[in-house]
Amino acid sequence: MKQQDIQHLYWRAGFGVTPNQLKTLSNMDKHQVVNELFQNSSSPSRLEIDTSELDHFTMKSVLKDKSKRREFINKSTEKLKVFNTIWVNRLVTTDELLREKMTLFWANHFVCRDNNIFHVKQYNNIIRNNALGNFGDFVKAISKEAAMLKYLNNKQNRKQKPNENFARELMELFTLGEGHYSEEDIKESARAFTGYSHNYEGEFAFRKLQHDYDFKTFFGHTGRYDGDDIIDMILDQKQCARFVCRKIYNYFVNDTINEERVEELANVFYKDYDIENLMRHVFMSDWFYEEKNKGTKIKSPIEFLVGMTRTVPVEFKKTKDVLKIQKLLGQILLNPPNVAGWKGGKSWIDSNTIMLRLKLPSIILSNAKISIKEKGDFEDNFEKYYSKKKINKFVSAKIDWETFDKEFSNSSFEDLNHQLIIPELSDGTETYLKTLSQNSKRNFCVQLMSLPEYQMC
């Protein structure tokens, strides 16, 4: 497989590719490369966090005692921050690239936010487990998750007093998109989801007394439907496959939508709603590798941060630094802005985020300095240059340049450029880079990462 194609695939299905991986993969054909991607993601590894500090809380104490509840929420909120960094770290270190990338995608599809660490962890792993599975099973599982039951108020959805929030977002944001259902469909389907609840541990609990067992008329059919029936009837609509495939295309292929391709994907997906089959179809398609789809996506803050630290390993000393970077870049994992999620694409970029993005590699990796020494300038050695200012005020981090050196030991400067930068560099930028002294690969790496082109994948 061509190097460029591998890079494209690995950026979209993962967070980039290292020179050594690239070398191995380029000896394989497309079929083998794509297969390996799926093979590596075949069985999910749960994301875990030590929550033993919260073990002494009981349902009774948390529900009955207000100060206990406050204490629980405070401790849980602290744990969520740690869980965030554990997730980021997973993205940096994982070999299950596709599964993790899909998990990010679905977390921004089935958007949810909660402050109970147990429920958040469970929700996060439900997404991970189903990320390449059957979409129908996935939606049904999500509809029964504690965090979601709370987030979209389905917990308050009772026969006596239906709450339509979940039913509405289920159709508008999770399956069909606006305009493909009526207000009446929302009202009727909301009744089918009545009685959904969960226990303290976060397990689904069906409250029979609160469920409306009466007839409901949904999409022209009448029956004593429950939530799963409604989801099956939604999946029967081809629009559901179209809606999801459009989002997949937008996220994995190009944010300029090609309607023909979306229809092609919807035909594949509608057959069995098998996510793995759908993604295999995307990555095996010739059109996926067309030039117009390469290097045209603006990296999300997480893709940017993870991609960078996969190239030069960074060990952040403080949880709050990892969160601070996410906040300033505009994407804090587990903290989506609202149920519609992050819009992505150009919306990541404003005057402040773009300046920070250009500056961040140098801030983290080289104390905010980007070498602009011209060719022929007197050369300090790298360590001396960067040891002038030892304390990094913005973040406290340990940089593992040795791993970078090893990984890129066989790469020329020219190679480094092609390994880190996905879109073509313009002649002007290329010329400018050539005027700079090419003495240290580390310097050059920071220079490349500070280019606007590095923001693209």
Binding site: P337, S351, G428, T431
Partner: protein, 411 residues
Amino acid sequence: MCATHVITRISNVLIMDRRHFFKQSTLASSLFFVPNFVKAFENLATTGLGYKRLVIIQLAGGNDGLNTIIPFNHDVYYRNRPTIGIKKNEIIKVTDDLGFHSNLQPLKKLYDQGHLTIINNVGYPNPNRSHFRSTDIWQTASNSDQYLQTGWIGRYLDAYGNKPYNAIEIDDSLSLALKGQNINGIATKNPQTLFRTSQDPYFKNVLQHYQDEHLSEHNLGYLYKTIIAAESSAKYIFEKHKTTSNKQEYPNNEFANQLKTTSRLINSGIETKVFYSSLGGFDTHAGQPNKQSRLLKIYAEGIEAFVSDLKQQGTFDDTLILTFSEFGRRVKQNAANGTDHGAASNLFIIGNQLKKPGFYNELASLSNLDDNGDLKYSVDFRSIYATVLGKWLAVEDKTILNKNFPKLDFI
């Protein structure tokens, strides 16, 4: 085009970017020799954007409106707040029913001078009690069941702005309120830091080597355009900022610093229509009295210095200050001497051109509450936005709010 129009347009260009103007305009040479004449126009309404400015302040966390403006003649108030209700003799009474928290003396002064309008019971239908979501609703001006991905100031920029600095947030990062579809505002706590960041020699060199192909409509082109706009905005803000100083001492705290920066920028004649800042910490679930008192003091003293500074420099007339919180708090206090998340609350408008200074409307009933025990709203916050957009910034509010909201007559 009539002559005045030409002149206003030209002086506007001059204010915005003299260098650019000299390159562009054939009239430059003649005007160059009459700088005083041009300067005279700098303080007049200059552009399609107009000259009036809006300063928005969010009291983040949900300020307890009932302990800010206190309904001291209602038994219901004291019955619901046995330990945190503010005693009658500690209140700065202004009407038979309502009075200010004792730390709001500076606000009382503004009230007496006719510079303050208090609008009671501001909220929206089906109120959401999550900070996050309710802030979103206020910042995007959406319905409570609607999810918009642009802010109301962002959409104002889309329709009427052309530079990021047309709306500035005094912070490190940009809120949703200032994000539009095609143009975003810019955030800066410190214009000098922002400027230094933008002046990195490496970036300057990269930008010098950019070519037209970079500026295409594609995503990469968008990045380059944003960088160029950020660089010139940072430079422009910095240069404006350094031309002025404050004529007034400010208290030494972060909030006052935000207002200090805002004032310097306003007084520099910067082409910024909206300034956005916030004061956090109002989420007073426990031990409310001390926390809230401290914050109200910071708020009131900051505002006092700010207004006085603007007055001394003759810019108060053209500045309108809007203070809101994402929600008020429950009428009934909780067991921890605090209050839980509520719904409708009061909102302050401060300025020198108020049509209805004092209380704009009556406080809603303290006994006829919603199902959660919260005040019911009587004024939709989007009506206030519509008023500010239509009557103060003189733009088509419907375009920005996507709907016609009835305007109020406080300005």
